[in-house]
């Protein structure tokens, strides 16, 4: 079976008044039906990765190299109608702010059915029924009435449910979720997470879930890929990454988390700030903040070490550890 998604040495560069090397040599593989969390802080390139995958970045200012295959198809070759069919058909996206991602002057029923009509070329009536069915599946109460509502008439949680219904209406093989719970209240967050998890099982689709919240990552993911400065610095199953983190950055993230901390105890924050990415990284991007940094970390790019099945770390320390065995 072909992999659902394969990034092969993806590079994304934004040209403009200043150049930004947003994604640097990112490789990633996702199997069918897997739930992967892309974990990282703001500016680490998580959202850019998702937008690249849907070809949503402005072509005039963006330079993309490397391979992106979805179900074996190179999506960089798509254009026109085939690109439109791919977007929202094979791969669709749930945005961070449902209040901004829904068109304010269209009824939500129409927003869902117009997507269905474009993809499936069905009648207005059928598209409406699909939309209604989707609203039921995301557990929106009295969906018939909600169909006629405008986005501003719904609560934040309901709007995100609508967004999910919209994204899943054409049964994508891969769902991209860009911090879909960040804008929501804590209690609503957990409902949306559980809903996403359930729907993922029900539809058997792959999900890439972007977040900066380790708690959320642990809650829902099968696998975790940790991003830093436009690269994946550690990848593995959720269990492995959480319990046996190898990269100092991953360990730092885990230590900075609130769990198992006594009241009054200082949280261990990672010192320093992420790099600006105005130059292409030539050494380990994390070295300036790393407590274990060695001289070579500042000279060379760290190697990507396979330390297990589908388990990778990009770090000189891991290289030493493997060599020692």
């Amino acid at each position: 079976m072909t992999a659902l998604l394969e990034f092969d040495r993806l590079n994304v560069t934004f040209k403009g008044e200043r150049t930004v090397y947003a994604i640097n040599d990112l490789s990633l593989k996702l199997e069918q039906g897997e739930m992967l969390v892309l974990l990282g802080e703001s500016g680490s390139g998580k959202s850019v990765t998702l937008k690249t995958l849907l070809r949503l970045l402005p072509p005039a200012r963006t330079q993309i190299s490397g391979g992106i295959k979805v179900n074996g198809t190179d999506i960089m070759t798509l254009s026109g109608r085939s690109l439109q069919d791919y977007r929202g058909g094979d791969v669709s996206m749930v945005f961070q702010e449902p209040a901004l991602a829904l068109d304010p002057v269209y009824r939500i029923g129409d927003q869902i059915s117009e997507a269905v009509r474009r993809k499936k070329r069905v009648s207005r009536e059928e598209a409406r029924n699909v939309a209604l069915d989707m609203l039921r599946r995301v557990r929106i109460p009295s969906p018939e009435r909600r169909m006629m509502n405008f986005p501003h008439e719904l609560s934040g949680g309901m709007r995100q449910r609508v967004m999910i219904a919209l994204a899943l209406a054409c049964r994508p093989r891969l769902l991209l979720a860009d911090e879909p719970t960040t804008a929501l209240d804590a209690t609503v967050q957990i409902q949306i997470l559980l809903l996403l998890r359930e729907l993922q099982k029900e539809f058997g689709m792959g999900v890439i879930f972007v977040t900066h919240d380790i708690g959320v990552a642990v809650e829902i993911s099968d696998r975790i890929a940790v991003m830093y400065a436009g690269q994946i610095i550690e990848e593995g199953s959720t269990h492995e990454v959480i319990n046996d983190a190898h990269h100092p950055y991953t360990r730092g993230l885990l230590a900075a988390n609130l769990h198992d901390v006594e009241r009054g105890e200082r949280l261990e924050a990672i010192p320093g700030v992420p790099p600006s990415l105005e130059e292409k990284p030539k050494a380990c991007s994390f070295a300036p903040r790393c407590p274990n940094a060695m001289p070579e970390c500042r000279d060379k790019l760290p190697p990507v070490i396979e330390i297990g099945a589908r388990r990778r770390v990009a770090c000189f320390l891991a290289q030493q550890a493997v060599a020692a065995e």
Binding site: S92, M93, F95, A101, V105, H152
Partner: protein, 317 residues
């Protein structure tokens, strides 16, 4: 929607009342005595007092106002001091002429302004955008009475293609839709259209540019919509605001064409107004201002209701 329309209609009453008070007061507070314009220079104090009583100008202001308001409800705006003819008829004739000019200017200005603004917003930062922005700034900045005179010099004096003034050939006693009359409409309508073209183009450019950068546009592409589909969404989002700008400009075209009407000697409300001012013709001045103000109020009312019909976010508040 129905409730909103009713509420909005009821809101017109206090506004109209306020407008009528202001119209009345403005004219009475302004310095100068209306009678000096029509009385003989050597009129005695008794004669002046008699004339004052005849026009009711000797009574206290609130009483004058109530009488004026009472007559207003019967469609009586009083008689012109200068000509002695009923104000209502004079204003009505002038307003018809102004309306004709304003509507023609609108038909020129709004489609052009909307199109230019949309193109500039869609192709933001391109050469087209820069061109449109320059046109818009020029349109807003150039004094339109000056432009009117320039057009007259070129097309009426030098080329002699079009007439320089008036609303019809000599001896015509009213508007008809034939070439002889329409020729007179062309220059003033174009001159009048220049400012609203600039204002509408600039507003729509900013509006469309902003909407294209909103998240939902990316979300529309993400769900596989074509460029054309996205365009329709953007237009529907821009419609309500564009409409309100157009409505306000329509009101301004009706009332604000004093200079243009004077330059082209167009017998509209603007000319009537300027005549009334120079002749200190109080009833005529009051009546004209009132009617123009009511046009403004009505234009705003229509825009508000149309906006609510287009934009679902408005009804709630």
């Amino acid at each position: 929607m129905f409730a909103y329309v009713i509420r909005r209609l009821l809101l017109v009453l206090p506004v109209a009342f306020g407008v009528s008070i202001i119209c009345f007061l403005l004219v009475h507070i302004a310095p100068g005595d209306p009678l000096t314009a029509i009385m003989a220079v050597d009129a005695t104090a008794e004669e002046q007092a008699a004339m004052r009583a005849a026009y009711g100008l000797d009574r206290p202001l609130p009483v004058q106002f109530l009488f004026w308001l009472g007559n207003l409800f019967q469609g009586d705006l009083g008689n012109s001091i200068a000509t002695g003819r009923p104000v209502a008829g004079e204003v009505w004739r002038a307003v018809q002429n102004s309306l004709l000019l304003a509507v023609t200017a609108s038909l020129i200005a709004f489609p052009i302004g909307l199109l230019l603004g949309f193109l500039a917003g869609y192709f933001r930062d391109s050469w087209l955008d820069k061109l449109v922005t320059s046109i818009a700034i020029a349109g807003v900045s150039v004094p339109n009475y000056w432009l009117g005179m320039v057009l007259v010099i070129i097309f009426a004096v030098k080329l002699a293609w079009l007439p320089a003034m008036g609303a019809g050939p000599a001896g015509s006693d009213g508007w008809t839709f034939d070439w002889l009359h329409i020729r007179h409409l062309i220059l003033p309508a174009i001159t009048l259209a220049v400012v609203p073209i600039g204002i509408v183009a600039r507003t729509v450019r900013a509006l469309v540019g902003d909407i294209f950068h909103m998240d939902f546009v990316m979300a529309l592409y993400a769900k596989g919509m074509s460029n054309f589909d996205v365009l329709i969404h953007v237009i529907r989002n821009a419609a309500a605001t564009a409409l309100s700008v157009i409505g306000l400009q329509m009101g301004a075209l009706l009332g604000g064409s004093i200079l243009i009407e004077t330059v082209f000697n167009w017998p509209g409300s603007g000319m009537l107004l300027s005549n009334a001012i120079f002749q200190r013709d109080l009833p005529l001045l009051q009546g004209t201002i009132l009617v123009l103000a009511m046009f403004f109020v009505t234009a705003n009312l229509v825009v508000d209701i149309l906006q609510a019909a287009i934009d679902p976010r408005i009804k709630r508040s």
